[in-house]
Symmetry: C2
Subunit: 356 residues, 2 copies
């Protein structure tokens, strides 16, 4: 018998399976597209028209500034694996980048994903892309590309990693960068849906190692299982915040600072937009803390300062706004489906966060 | 003794080390920046001015189309691990995306990376970012952002994964999409530097498993060690190809199709830009094959068709050009440092690649 020649498939790469995966993704990709996504230009790159083709809707950016962000989902993916539910981590992936893009006042336009897994698995890939597509629709952005890497030497069976990348645009004069923040401005906190996608190394250590719980365990304080709570998708704030930005003439500088509350929590993220000499005072107890946070704190015996630095504690996004418009903005965002609270104010002082 | 309270650091996340990593990266990031990168806008997103600030150099895009691409390096990273040399895989990472962007005629503007590793390791991260920065300089694009994810639960000690994202721009009227390709056009092949970043699952299987070689083994046919050959960085074609594009008035449609030769080789990538009814005939033996390819083929006893489908076989980028200008373009690109050969021609037929 002739010695069998080596092929690419022997080395773990199956192009047929890849085509099958692609076919499964396509409807989820296509549903995020608008006429600004230019089709039919080969497959090397995605093309996106910065201006609308139709003059009626033309934005005619005078000085367009591109906004780019990228992020991953981190070990929340491990929870998805334990639950064997993979159609929501894509929402987290999109949220992490588009909420960052939003902090500049930018409008997310496009999203691309990188998915690395140990073997081609069309049904799994379809579930993941379904979630990414759902996130893109929530953020009004187009899923224009992505890379699926089959890396049997890197990932354990069942594991995968996800990275996301967002491109947005903002008119230069409309960039929100915190420079306009003034003493007396109001700090609005937009409710998170839970842990979002940060602090999972600690949360998993507490829940699975320290307390020995399983994803299927029901927790009375949470009214649901451990897994359901930990897999709750990150909230996407794009539409709620852009509704506000579009409502006021940009020249009024009504919205002065925007911060996405991720790793390092409120005290770590708010200072990223504070100008020198402006200090944010946050009032403890001024917003309802979702039950997952006290539950984790008690379960792991975590110091309050550690809780503040690792988790969002119920506030996923912060808007620093003119006090004159604060009440109206708070109502607009809440009416738009995102419960919003006055959580603090801007005073003189070193650019940092202080509790009171 | 009081029970020790759990902290984020206990869970494997060390923010001090992270800051150290960041400091190491910064000079390599900054050296890729031009005035178009807008600094000082907090850290949530990268901002890039689409037009130059200076009117003299203003590009004044009439209808800017954004070009986005992403890709990883795949298991070439394993070779970097075996060599314990991490300052060149970043070049591969940038190359994979910017060469794709180039296929539209686009100019790469910005690059972002996603780096996932099992623990924070400032010296390793610095080496990797150094390579990414070198690649960005070769491609004339700015390294504007990135995410370093510490995921001890996903990656084995010593392993890491890398993904890259590129944003470019092209004037709508200048998009190169292959539609202008005509019978009689000449196919120019631009030399690769070796394997580039594709086919490593097969190459590693042949070299390390099948032949039992080590990275330090010297190979007479290659004139260097196995590891040196397999780690040779991917060539970046951006400057060489844009020199040509800038040389001819765009209305002449001198350059009609561009293809980056990655996974699936010449026969898999050239058809991605062929219009219906145009067939590319490639002439075997019309370009010098770098020694790594016959060496691998012999070592693994690989069929020629398999070689063609998995490896670039010495051609990393293809330009399909007007026959009238072919010789001049070939000379320009070669003089610019990228050896270029006439490797085939366009004839009537089904849109595919055929050998003669």
């Amino acid at each position: 018998m002739a010695k069998k020649k080596l092929t690419y498939q022997d080395a773990g790469v199956d192009i047929g399976l890849y085509e099958q995966s692609l076919a499964g993704m396509l409807p989820f990709i296509k549903r995020t597209h608008t006429p600004r996504v230019l089709d039919g230009f080969g497959g090397f790159a995605a093309l996106f028209s910065l201006d609308y083709n139709c003059r009626l809707f033309a934005k005619n950016y005078r000085h367009p500034v591109l906004v780019t962000c990228n992020d991953g989902v981190g070990t929340k993916l491990k929870v998805a694996g334990l639950m064997n539910k993979h159609d929501t981590v894509g929402i987290d992936l999109v949220a992490m980048s588009v909420n960052d893009c939003l902090c500049t006042g930018g409008e997310p336009l496009m999203f691309l994903d990188y998915l690395a897994l140990p073997k081609d698995d069309p049904p799994l890939i379809k579930e993941i892309i379904k979630g990414i597509s759902a996130g893109c629709i929530q953020a009004d952005c187009a899923l224009v590309g992505g890379e699926t890497a089959i890396l049997p030497d890197f990932y354990q069976p069942g594991d995968y990693d996800l990275a996301g990348f967002c491109v947005g645009v903002v008119e230069r004069e409309h960039i929100i960068d915190g420079r306009a923040i003034q003493v007396g401005d109001v700090v609005l906190g937009l409710a998170s849906t839970g842990l979002h996608s940060n602090g999972y190394s600690l949360a998993r250590k507490i829940v699975f190692e320290h307390a020995g719980l399983k994803v299927t365990d029901h927790v009375p304080e949470l009214g649901r299982t451990v897994g359901e709570e930990l897999l709750e998708p990150t909230r996407i704030y794009v539409k709620a915040v852009h509704n506000v930005l579009d409502h006021y003439p940009i020249k009024k500088h009504v919205v002065r600072g925007l911060a996405h509350i991720t790793g390092e929590g409120l005290p770590g993220n708010i200072p990223r937009v504070l100008p020198p000499g402006k200090r944010v005072f946050l009032k403890r107890g001024s917003w309802p803390i979702p039950p997952v946070f006290p539950w984790l704190q008690k379960l792991g015996d975590i110091e309050q300062a550690e809780m503040d630095m690792v988790f969002n504690n119920g506030i996923g996004f912060v808007m620093i706004v003119s006090s004159y418009f604060a009440e109206s903005i708070q109502r607009q965002v809440t009416d738009g489906g995102v419960p919003t609270h006055v959580i603090g104010e801007v005073r003189d002082g070193e650019a940092d966060v202080e509790w009171y």
